[in-house]
Symmetry: D2
């Protein structure tokens, strides 16, 4: 038996759930989990995640997809299908701070995060040791003012065709619009603030200066607008006047690790649908 997840979105109208769940039933599939959300049952947009098993011997994948596409067209739907047998390939980018990298490698090693990791790229050599222990290839690609374009070209060469998505596990370089267009796939970033507060550089310093009483971390998809992409997960924690910028930074590490882990799990389990710079994240 094969396990598949269909993510679908379309204009909401009567009978969608019936049609889709009936489709699975007709092909003798077994629904493991079904989640729906509608912005408005009258004229809104409908989102669905369908996690089901089927017998690929009886119903080949290509046939299933062709038939589902016919249904989807009648619903004016955008959809995608993911098979559990196809492990997602995740490229990792990191700079100096390595706590998020350590968390990602731990989740990878224990199998909690079901991905393959073809490489870790860093603009600093520091993480070479930590990555080396895991057996994952490590590439040091410097990114200075003059070499940014060259750097991005080398990342693209490394990542295109070998990855399904990238994670910026505290990668402190802003990726250019041409890079994003060329790569063309999802990129998940962890930003060390409670967005939209404190975009850009040194968010803990910004938070300290504003005197906030709660700090946060935000995992989001990268878009051309810096720290402005669809938010996947946010985690927060109270702080006090005693916490200077260094203390905020230290406390924030746990938040960053948690927010990033949850976002990666949700992404890899195909629980996220993007729509209009927001995310629907099914539980």
């Amino acid at each position: 038996m094969e396990n598949a997840v269909i993510l679908i979105q379309c204009p909401d109208h009567k009978g969608i759930i019936a049609k889709i769940s009936d489709f699975v039933f007709r092909y003798d599939g077994n629904i493991i989990q079904s989640d729906q959300y509608s912005t408005d049952p009258a004229g809104g947009r409908f989102f669905m995640r369908l996690d089901f098993t089927f017998d690929p011997v009886k119903v080949p994948q290509s046939h299933l997809e062709k038939e589902f596409d016919i249904l989807a067209r009648t619903l004016d739907a955008v959809w995608e299908i993911h098979y559990a047998s196809a492990v997602m390939r995740m490229g990792v980018l990191v700079s100096k701070a390595d706590h998020c990298l350590a968390e990602v490698l731990y989740l990878y090693r224990t199998g909690e995060l079901k991905v393959s990791i073809p490489f870790v790229i860093s603009n600093h050599p520091d993480a070479a040791g930590m990555v080396g222990q895991s057996g994952i290839p490590f590439y040091h690609i410097e990114s200075t003012r003059g070499s940014k374009e060259e750097c991005e070209r080398r990342i693209l060469e490394t990542a295109c065709g070998t990855t399904d998505f990238l994670v910026l596990a505290r990668y402190m370089q802003v990726l250019s619009a041409p890079f994003l267009q060329s790569y063309g796939r999802d990129i998940i970033n962890i930003h060390h603030s409670f967005l939209p507060s404190f975009k850009g550089a040194d968010p803990y310093q910004q938070a300290y200066e504003r005197g906030v009483k709660v700090i946060g971390a935000t995992a989001h998809y990268v878009t051309e607008e810096l720290d402005g992409g669809p938010i996947i997960e946010q985690v927060v924690e109270p702080v006090s006047h005693r916490d200077n910028a260094a203390a905020l930074k230290r406390k924030g590490k746990s938040l960053e690790k948690i927010a990033l882990s949850r976002a990666l799990l949700a992404h890899v389990e195909h629980r996220i649908i993007r729509y209009r710079n927001k995310t629907i994240v099914f539980a």
Copy 2:
């Protein structure tokens, strides 16, 4: 158009969602929200909440129910249907501490909690003023050692036939098993601790003595086991060594109000299914 919610549970097997959503489709209903949960798609138990609209002129309620019952029997399902036009009738019991009562009356007055309140009963006269201002009948029914049976008899007389459920908004008397059996409907209690820690009397004192660093409040259905019924909602907050029992009590008030409010909203919106001393609470 009428709005209805069906709550259903049955053994999980293939095609349930398809059959139920198709049922709604056949009767020209429009699904507002559909939520499912299965303890295990292979031989587990399946739970579903279906929120939909239909035209009672085309499909009378009695017909809809008769037809759905036929489907439910084929699924070996337990089910219930609630119509938005039938406002739930909530009886309120309270003792001296009136913060939860104040919250409930506020939510009632603003229409956030869509219920009618036929009465507030208290074993103390203190709340008469607060209740009086709301126009809701207030009954002072004392409960002393000797009068407990008589007290419960009077509550039953007042509540049976006039209420769909009761809320113990900090009612500090333990209701007897015979009372629970006679009343026969749901009773929601707010307990001022993070259950199962600190059951019974004076939980804030117990929490203080144990030196916990987080306190909580728990809203749950009442069963014959004291503070042992299905948990609906739990809310928590960090505390420190500076918080003595009085401070915990004061801080806990907010938690109690939040936990109780959420539980009442979930109950009134028919988002809760009870199963084996637990709850499925759909979002």
Copy 3:
């Protein structure tokens, strides 16, 4: 015995705590609680809150204050003293949304918030009933485009000399710089977002549009910069894609009530020191 709280701030250097606590000791005072904070023991700024009892028969208040001032001058300190016997007078301003007002009145009625409330002012007549039940004078002072100046003049007339501070319990009018200067005392506002995100109007709508996964409420002192004053308390709660702007608004009410209550308690208990657009809030 009289209970007093001294709040003091000065450049940090050796021996401050010794000098101040010795001062209390010499006047036979008994320290109930002492809290200190230094931004940097080497050349930073020192903050202290000293809660103590003394015998006003042996040491008259005026004498105590004169002597302490001499000490404070040697420390180059800014300080203030508050006596528990002097109940703070809190003026309340509110617009249509009355959940924060209800919370404030509840805390006032139960004695948890030890203040007197000389009046409630609103630019809408809606709260008259709720305030009337509490026996507090209610003034309806309209504030339209043309009448803003006149409105602020009337608020000043009502509040000057009768209040020690004002609370904006969801008062939806921006107070002008001249008003703030004329009033000259603390004003506490509750803003229904996690500042500095979503300043200004309709923060829940803003939060919905940005697709945040956590919402918040912020209690802060009012300054001439809109929603830019020193933050006292922030409270947050996770939300999901299912929460539309109306749901955020509903969920946010609890947060607003909690943040405002805590801020008012801290202010009235003289646990807050303001410094450079930030607050030190002692526990």
Copy 4:
């Protein structure tokens, strides 16, 4: 200059803070941070943490300690002093689950947790690799029914004289009373539940069966009563009916790491005073 922390507790009475802070002042010390707490200023117990610098050339440690002891006797105080120059030696015990171990080693490696780690002991061989990479000696000491006494004897041999405290980073063996007495120093355990709920084995399974809506992790000092020692830190997180025991276990890992990290930091920074099976944890 040397940095020292004094932890002191005694019956509360007038002038304690003055006497202690004056002591530091007389020896030309500079108070970095001073925290106090009293259970009751009238006849309660007083706790103080004093973090200060002094010049060991002018005031040798032995002299300082002798003089302070004289003062402490007049206060009927129990006290201890810790010097920043003396790095705490932390022995680590672990079983199969290695997420807490990974966190501890990360904090150690980055210098956030200022300790030396003379060894990691495990009753399973699994962690050998992870520990090996860090250069810390790893000892595999099996603990079966028959060999428990022998196992504890070997741990004692390894830990006595080489460690200032032990951390049970998910060590799943109950240490016997004789062991605790022989070791005679602090032992910190991480328990994977919100104590006092779900003591003993398989707390996530217990939590699942009870149907709680919030889970937690508790770091505490080990005493002879299983999971009954003074609580240092508790961290919690909401869960839902969707989370089975395995999901709770997975979600709980983050909580365990956070609770344990915070407890270790507080312990190593000498911010904890134990009293009557509770802790005062200064911020």
